[in-house]
Structure formats: structure tokens, C-alpha cells
Symmetry: C3
Subunit: 403 residues, 3 copies
Amino acid sequence: MNTVTKKNILNTEKEIKELESLKADLYHKDFLLTWEKTDKELHSVLKIAEILKQMHNDNIDVSMFKTGLAVSNFRDNSTRTRFSFASACNLLGLAVQDLDEGKSQIAHGETVRETANMISFLTEVVGIRDDMFIGKGHTYMKEVAEALDDGYENGVLNQRPAVVNLQCDLDHPTQTMSDLLFLKNYFGGFEKLKGKKIAMTWAYSPSYGKPLSVPQGVIALMTRFGMEVELAYPEGYDLLPETLEIAKKHAKASGGSFKVSNSMEDAFKNADIVYPKSWAPYAVMEKRTKLLEQRDQNGLKELEKDCLAQNAKYDSWECDKKKMKLTKNGEAVYLHCLPADITGVSCKKGEVSADVFEKYRIGTYKEAGYKPFVIAAMIIACTKKNPSEILKAIYKKAEKRVL
Amino acid sequence: MNTVTKKNILNTEKEIKELESLKADLYHKDFLLTWEKTDKELHSVLKIAEILKQMHNDNIDVSMFKTGLAVSNFRDNSTRTRFSFASACNLLGLAVQDLDEGKSQIAHGETVRETANMISFLTEVVGIRDDMFIGKGHTYMKEVAEALDDGYENGVLNQRPAVVNLQCDLDHPTQTMSDLLFLKNYFGGFEKLKGKKIAMTWAYSPSYGKPLSVPQGVIALMTRFGMEVELAYPEGYDLLPETLEIAKKHAKASGGSFKVSNSMEDAFKNADIVYPKSWAPYAVMEKRTKLLEQRDQNGLKELEKDCLAQNAKYDSWECDKKKMKLTKNGEAVYLHCLPADITGVSCKKGEVSADVFEKYRIGTYKEAGYKPFVIAAMIIACTKKNPSEILKAIYKKAEKRVL
Amino acid sequence: MNTVTKKNILNTEKEIKELESLKADLYHKDFLLTWEKTDKELHSVLKIAEILKQMHNDNIDVSMFKTGLAVSNFRDNSTRTRFSFASACNLLGLAVQDLDEGKSQIAHGETVRETANMISFLTEVVGIRDDMFIGKGHTYMKEVAEALDDGYENGVLNQRPAVVNLQCDLDHPTQTMSDLLFLKNYFGGFEKLKGKKIAMTWAYSPSYGKPLSVPQGVIALMTRFGMEVELAYPEGYDLLPETLEIAKKHAKASGGSFKVSNSMEDAFKNADIVYPKSWAPYAVMEKRTKLLEQRDQNGLKELEKDCLAQNAKYDSWECDKKKMKLTKNGEAVYLHCLPADITGVSCKKGEVSADVFEKYRIGTYKEAGYKPFVIAAMIIACTKKNPSEILKAIYKKAEKRVL
């Protein structure tokens, strides 16, 4: 154990007791969207994640599956989330098996229903990433979940595998809950987040077509914790309207606030946290989905050209030293889901200047470091009737993970 | 445990005793063709499969390898069989490692001999699918098996990995034995299969080049259990002659029968079981193999065109409601190895009508659900000197697979 | 246990005691180049490898990680080394996860630093193969190692994963240490290697661009064990000069010798061991690296043409019966890292004649058979504070690997 982690040591037994008292029940459910879950359910998953992270650090073997498959279904390229999912499954004792479809092939209907069952005879979890098509990703995940219900209820499957959303067109719950855990530990508890201002802002990128799920997920989640959430983007870079409605509702319920502006500077003013990140306008993503369905290569090229030209108008939306000075004491914490487009490092001009990124680099790595444990927590919450009892037994036994 | 599976609970101890009394010996052998195995050997594998399925349902950990690799060598695309193999290996504690060759490269000679050893230093099983080339797949599997004998006998390998046929040009034993287990449980025992009529028929498909191994494997296997097997296909869609000879011989020995006709209706008449499935004529597959070897792209295109035109003549060979009415009480059980070409669902016109498929859909999923356990049983039978003793010890210990 | 391996049974307890007395410390280090390691460190890894090989043969479970990932990062095609790495990791209880980059993309800077951390939250070892670019492979491995130091020291990672070189532009330590263990057991001990003559010679191949790491690694390693190392190649086929300097220094220190000639016959004369293997001249590999960076397809084609023409001048550099007669009693042992270019088998004219290869074939397979255990030993040495204590505990417990 190194000094940094020692500082964070949890009283694991106490944590498990608190988990027990939450009495959240996600058994035989899926984890698709944070806003479908109650506060208790979210806190339950967050608590399991922290308990697992601590046990890993304390070299305790938490493998609670002796055998079992975890299906990894990535419909978009990914290295980080793929490794996070693989790490989470391995931590619990599951073996990852990739389900590779042709990237262009959008399976539906009987194909999905059948495939979902055929890959699940000995499967405990299906992790899905499907974030490129507006109106498709979340729909696909629900289709898979329904097919698994059908198979389980009809005696095809001995167990009901959990479906975990590894990023869809609406939400990116494993990312935003990792962001949240990082903030909770940075500020010293969920209570400390109340009244903190977070600026979720668009930022310039020389690429195009980045998904909307991170900003949508962030505004929907952070508003539940009493935070002052300010969303800022250039005119035309709208998110899906329904996610803004959710953020408004959550802010009202939690005593926080939710505001939308078209100025990065306004959003940064007095912010405790900044999350500058590029995304494509919702309308563009819809247009793109249609062109992809029609396999209209020329249309796609033209759209890309138009969008990059549009983006270029807003290349001043960079998180640089000057803008950081606007934040609370000039010392807001910087968040990013990585990889960031870093000016002069990974691109000529990007989302963040090199000096700002370097200052917060280790922080962003730690932010990402919660993800495997958040995923593992979702798996446990959705596949176990009584997570706290299992964790208690594991903690009592305390078998070494590594000799 | 759900109600369906409860109905099927086996007296596991009794089953293990029966396995013991079979005294079958497959140790250090491979599982390539069902017709190379004695009845005792087949029954032994089938029994192990059912014991494993029950133990999985009872949440008993059956991992009998603490470490060890399982090599997955697919020379043709596959999702279902790939997952079945991965599931089987994981169930027993083995880690799957893919052996990816270039798809076009047909390795032979020293390359096969050397590669087979290089991938096997810590390997317990090699699963191979090679079904696209007439005269090649089974030959390749035998080459691998001989190379492993050579390596084991000469002290290169500490253990002799088993070779398991996951579909070749001759047979598809993991599929047909799953079909058989489904039928056994559907009708209530192997004894009940005697005298039952099964119609293994060709069916129309808008695709071309489907392997022959399923119909060949079905007629060779079902004739051993006293069934009345009727094979039906349009003129010209012949199977490999040697597999018909085997079916004849088996029917004679078991007191069943084997008949070939050119009418789907005749075959369906009074059938207890129907298995309508498309395949390519044996002569076409031979021609195709040659064209592929010569990399004759134009020749292949022309062959495909001819074959699809030929197929189209027989698009009335669809398993529909009307034909199902010809079967025993209009209620024959429908089998398929999946995925089926379903009219109006996965294609315009196909092997089976949507209403018939939907009626039997859950059944076909359950049929497929035996496959992981059949594969695991083959691995156990071929790598263990005394499977019944190991299963007895595991059952006595009864460690939880999932906490 | 078969008769061959019985002959080689080690007194495992004695071996573990000897390992203990070596007091080598590789904990939290990486295994990149043999010449960065002390004799004690090399002997420590070699001894662990032999202990593991014996325990595997004795069916003892040596999995010392209950969970944990092993990252497999191959920047060049490989079947054999990939399987060796997978086997080694599986033996120790780790699950392999592939890190696939675009083959052409040579990642550097922030990308490497970030990716190295993102894939390592639950990772214990990163195995890297990067052998195609002079001046790049070893540099990349060091970059990854530094990124992991950074992440570990800053509390991003709970553990410091070891980096293992699975072949770079300079060295191929897992191969050469396997070669060495084969020789040690062939001749009956490290002491017996003193004074033995080994001919590391170039050999003709109809292909181009083979890496230099094997001959460089062989001359650098074998000179440490008091051997008479003779390197022979046609004029112009030079290795990296620094590796020759290392060989000279080692030969002087160990009481062996190191000589360079331009005659295969001279090198074979009175040799106890021959290692005839093709490689590309160092200057060509440098030129090739530049052309690849510039994506100069025409330049690459021309270079290949020139090189193959150059190679063709030396097609008499074949290890045949006649040349083998020049060796000690005509019975030198033949080594190869496999696959060899075998005349009349895998090519028209190649590195070795078919009769010579066949005579030594099983030996080369056994030579390769040490590799999984050498890799596993490197992982143990670099991730465990006290390997001998762990091995002692495992040996005492002696749990069955396979029931």
C-alpha cells in the first residue's frame, strides 16, 4: 500500500454495514441509465465500488464467481472501457468472451433475441457499448435485456445475466459514476458536493462525431447531488432535450440548480469543477445515423466537412490557463473521460492546453481508475440477491488475491 | 432453479453410478466422428453432459482444471459454436486462446505438425471447426491429432491435449449429440426414441454453400437409437455416399430404419420429429473446394449464381403449417441447429415459416443449450482416466460455483 | 510422467533452496535485456523456470494470482510467442487481455503514458513484442515502464505491473534463455557448457526483413557461460555493433571467447552447437524503418527486391548434411527458434535441409517448450518480493492442477 491510498483507507466493515442498511434491490435488473435508478440504488453501487477498490488495495481476493462468462459486446472501438470491463469481470472471477459483429451490421429482431440467448447459456453479464447511433444504442440494450428475460422465464437459461451499459446514445453510467466517486473523494464526501459548481462545457476538437452520452450523463447525475450544474455550448450544439428535462427535475429535487448558457467563460466563473469536452450536435448525430443506414459515403464525407468547418468557428473553446483563472480561486478541479485532445500534444489545437492538462493529468488517471470497480459493483448489484452478505463473508475470509 | 428445470432434476448420484458401470474408455482419444465411437462411449459422453448440466443448474462448481489452455481453432466464422466451446472450457476451468490463421491459408504438413505442438505446451484441449472444404476438415483434425501423439510420445508435451471436432466436412458431433439429448428429454428417455420417425429434410434457403455435416451427422447418429430415419432432398442434393452407408448399417443394427426420398411431404408424413435444413449438394461443395484452392474468383461467382438459380427451383421446400399438419397428430417436434432462415423474418423466403418457427422457438433454444455441456463432456471423457470418480468427488464436495 | 521427463526430475526442494541462496532481487523491475541483468539474476530466473516446469509435470497447481490481468501487446504477428505468453500467464492464474493497436500506428509520448496506465489498474504484467523497427522496440518498452513507474508512484496504480520483453529490436530474452535451458539440460549442467563451441550463423532464406534480436541475444547470452561463440555471416549482414561489444566483454569475463567470421564452414568446424538462422542486415533494417515511417511503398518494394537479390547470392548458406559433418564428431546439436525455412518443405531453398531438420526436429520442439516457463519465471521474479518462499509454500501444499 502506498501513502496516497493509505490516506483513503475505509473502515470496510462499517461500509458493508451501511451498504446493508441501504436495502437497495437491483437483483435481476440491468444497469442502463442512472436516471432509472433510485438514489438508494446509486449509493448502493457506489458503495460496493469503493469497498471493492479498498479490498483490491488490501490484496483481498473478491472473486465470487468460480466460473462463468462475461460477454463483451463493443459496437464501437474502445481500449479503455474494454479494459475496464475486462478488469472488472476478472476481479470477480468471470472470463471475458468477445462478441464481434460486423461493425456496420445493425442486428435486430429475431437475430438479437436468438443471439442473446445463444451466448448466454453460461453467462453472468453482458457488457454493451453502442453509442454511435442516436435512437439505437439504448434501444438495442433493452432488446437484449428483454431477450434474456424471455430465455430465463422459459427455462432456456439457468441464470439471468445482467446487462451493463458501457456507453449508449443516452448515458455513460460507468464513466459518470467514476467521475462522481473521484469528486466525492476529492472533496471529502457526498455531503461536500452540495452547492459545488460544476461547468460541463463543450470544447473544441479537430475531430467530429463524438458521442453525447458523457455530457448528458453528467448533467443528469450531478444534479442529483445538490450541485450547481452549468451546461455551456456554442449555439447549435444541443444535447438530447429529454436529458435536459431530467437534469432540471433532479436539480429541483436535490436543492441544486441547472443552467444552460452559450459561454465557456460564464460557465467557468467561480466553478469548483470543470469538465470541458467536445461532442457533436444532436441534430448532426441524427443526420449521421440516417446516412450510415443508407451507406451514403458521399453524404457522410460532406457532413464531416461541414461539421469540421462548423467546429472551427469555436476553436476558442479551449480550457486554458486564462479560463482556469476564472474558476474558484483559480483552482477548480479539471475532469475528463480521456483521451483528451491536448493542444500541441495529441493535436494542433484541442480541448485543453498542455499546461492545464499536465497539472491535472494524474487526477484524470485516478478518475478513470474508479471505472473497473464501478463496473464490478454494477455486476454484483444486478446478479446477487444480497451483496452485503457476500462482501461480509469475503472480507471475513480475507483470502489473498496475490500470494 | 425454475420450474422447467426442476421437472428435469436428475438423481445425480444414480447417474454417476450408471456412468461408472458403462466402463467406457475414451482417455487419450479424440472426439472427431460419432460413428468411430461405440454405443457405450456415446452414452458415457451423453451422461457426463447431463450430469454437468444438472450440477450447473444446482450451482455446483465443476472446474476440474485449476489452470490450462483450451485452443479455439475456427477456420470458418461462428458465433454460437465459438461461445459453446468457450462456455464449456470455462465451466471446467480452462482459459480459451484463439488460434487465428489467415482464413485462406490451408496449412499442411510440417506447419501443422509444428504449430500443433507449439500451441500445446500447457494445453488440455484443441477445438477445431473446419467445415468448408470437402475432404479437408476431418483430414486436418487427424493431422493435428497425430502431431499431438508425436509430441506427447517424444516428451515434448507433458500431457496429450484432446482434439474435439466442432464441425468438419463429415460430421458435427457436438450439434447432433445436443439434438439427441433434447429429443431424449423431450420424449422421456432413450428407450422412447425407438420407432420414432425423424424426417431429416433439405429446405430452401436463399444462400449457398451451407455445409453437409449436420444432415450427415443426424442420419448417422439417429439410426443408432432405433429411430425410423427418412432423409429427403431434391434430386442432385446428395450427401457424401459413405455417410448413407453408415446410416444403413446403423439402422440395421439398432432395429430402426433408414430411407431416402425426394419428397418433403413424404418425409413429413407421420413424422414424430422434423429437421428441415438447407445444404449444398456434395458435388457443388467439391467443385467449390477446387475453385477456392485455385483462387478462381470468377469461377466462384459463376458457381454461386448457378447454385442459387438451382436452389430457387425448390423454394417450395419450406417447413410451413400445411406440411406440419402431415406429421404425427400435426404435432411433430421441430429441430434446427440455428440460425434458421425464417420466411419474412431473416429472409424473404426461407427454410421455415414464421409461425412454425415461433411455435418451436424456445425448443430450438433449449436444443442449443445442451451444446456447452456436450463439449465439456467430450473434454472430460478424452482427458480423464476416470470421469465418474472425479464427478463423484466434485458432487460430494459441492462447492458453490457462484457465491 | 513419461520416461524422458522422469530422467530430468529435479530435486525440487533442493532447487528452491538454491534459488533462495542466490538472493537475486528483481522485484519491481522489468525484464527487457539479458545484459542488464547480473549473473545471479539470470540464474534466478532460469531456476524458477525449471522449478515451474517440473511442478507442471508433477501436476502441481502453481497459480499464485487468484485474479489479475496480463496485457499482451504484440506489434508484430506472432503465434508461438503469443501462445507462450498466454500459457505462462494462465499457469500463474492471470487472464490475458490483448492490446491491439493499429499495426501502422507507432504510438508515442502522452498516448503511451496514458494508455499504459489505463490498461493497468488491475494488471500484473505487460508483455510486449516490438521487433520490426531499429531503435524503436526497446525504446517503446522503456517508455511503457516509465509510465508505469509514474502511475505507481503517484497512487494511480495499486501495483506496479512488470514489463516483459517478448522480442525487441535488440534482444529476445525469452527465446535465448529457453535455448540456454535446453543446452544446459542437453549437456548436463551449466558447468558443462564451458568451452563448448557454438556457431551462431546467418543462413539463407527466401524472405526478407527478419529481426536481428535472436543472433544478437544469443551472442550476448552464451558468451556469459564460458562458451566459445563464433558468429558468422556474409559480408554486409552486420548486427548492431553494440551487441558485439557486449559479447566481447562477456567472453572476456567468463573465460570463453567470441569470434566473428564470414564463413559458415569455418564456424561449423568442430562446433558442439550450431544455430543457423536468417536475418536482415542492420543497415537494411534501419533503411526499412525510415521507409516505413515515410509510408514509402515504392521504396519498400525496391528495398525488398534488392535484398532478396542480395540474399540469393548466399543461398549456399544452408545447414545441410555436408556442413554438419564438419561439426564435433559430425554430431553438433542444432538449434532454431522456429519456424525454420526448411528446403523442400516450407520453401524451395532455405536455412536448413529437410534431413538435418528432421533429425533435430523433436529437439527444437523441446527447446521451444522452455519458453512458457521462462516467461512465467520472469513474471514471478519481477512481481514477487520473495519468489523462493512462495514456491516453497506452493510445493508444500502441492494442490493438484488437474483433478
